[in-house]
């Protein structure tokens, strides 16, 4: 849902250089994480401390793997959104802030991919 006026859309951002898009995206990720966290947490808490073979078996189950992949994707998206706001709030110097925001997006993305790849590997039994 785009809360921009025609002019905002053309210019790319609102006059505050900050649109309502981020606000709404945070709500989306938050709501999605309510069921995803619960569904992910219990198999994970059970798997922690089990043997390697058992852990692979747990994430070999397609349902557990699906929940894990979704949890990682939405979770790291939510983490990136949250850290973005923290960086914007506490870093006034533009160069440092830009670098940190870039690093934030890249690292959260990379970690998400790493986690998803690991789950996929176990899900496909390789």
């Amino acid at each position: 849902m785009d809360y921009k006026t025609d002019r905002n859309r053309v210019q790319g951002l609102g006059s505050a250089h900050h649109g309502a898009g981020h606000w709404w995206a945070q709500r989306i990720s938050s709501v999605a994480l309510v069921p995803l966290t619960l569904l992910f947490l219990f198999p994970f808490a059970h798997a922690l401390g089990q043997t390697h073979a058992d852990v692979r078996a747990i994430y070999g189950n397609l349902w557990n793997a699906l929940v894990a992949v979704l949890f990682l994707a939405v979770g790291f998206w939510h983490l990136a959104q949250g850290l973005q706001v923290v960086i914007e709030d506490y870093v006034p110097q533009k160069a440092t802030r830009t670098a940190l925001l870039l690093l934030n997006s890249l690292l959260c993305g990379a970690l998400a991919v790493a986690g998803i790849l690991a789950v996929a590997k176990m899900a496909f039994g390789v």
Binding site: S30, L33, A45, H52, L83, V86, P92, L111, A114, K121
Partner: protein, 127 residues
């Protein structure tokens, strides 16, 4: 403005003087738990990639995470997760425009604090 030089003049004390309120404390705690969960997220990915890599490497990582220090960190992360989730729900309710009167804010705040502790203990018992 953080980059302005204010010289050597004394500042008026605020955090040391003003009484801590449930609203402000839970607000900053929501942010702090969110930031703290970055560590939990990294540990989770580390554990998953270790499980997908092989038994030897998994034994190392799993051993670290289930050591007393690892379990301490995981318990803290679990509490942070529950707190952040419950307070997050509180935020979502506020987004609908409800619950802003002082009584509700105070009650829901204490419910989040108590609930996070209870749910942490429950999860630890069930797992």
């Amino acid at each position: 403005m953080a980059d302005v030089n204010r010289g050597n003049r004394p500042l008026s004390p605020h955090l040391q003087i003003y009484r801590k309120q449930i609203t402000a404390v839970l607000s900053i705690l929501h942010r702090l738990t969110g930031i703290g969960l970055t560590l939990g997220a990294v540990l989770l990915v580390w554990w998953l990639t270790a499980a997908a890599t092989g038994a030897d490497y998994f034994a190392v990582v799993d051993g670290l995470l289930t050591s007393w220090l690892g379990l301490l960190v995981l318990t803290g992360s679990l509490w942070a997760l529950w707190f952040h989730a419950l307070n997050g729900l509180r935020h979502l309710v506020w987004d609908t425009g409800r619950g802003f009167d002082l009584t509700t804010v105070t009650r829901s705040g204490w419910a989040v604090v108590g609930g996070s502790v209870v749910l942490t203990l429950l999860t630890m018992i069930v797992m």
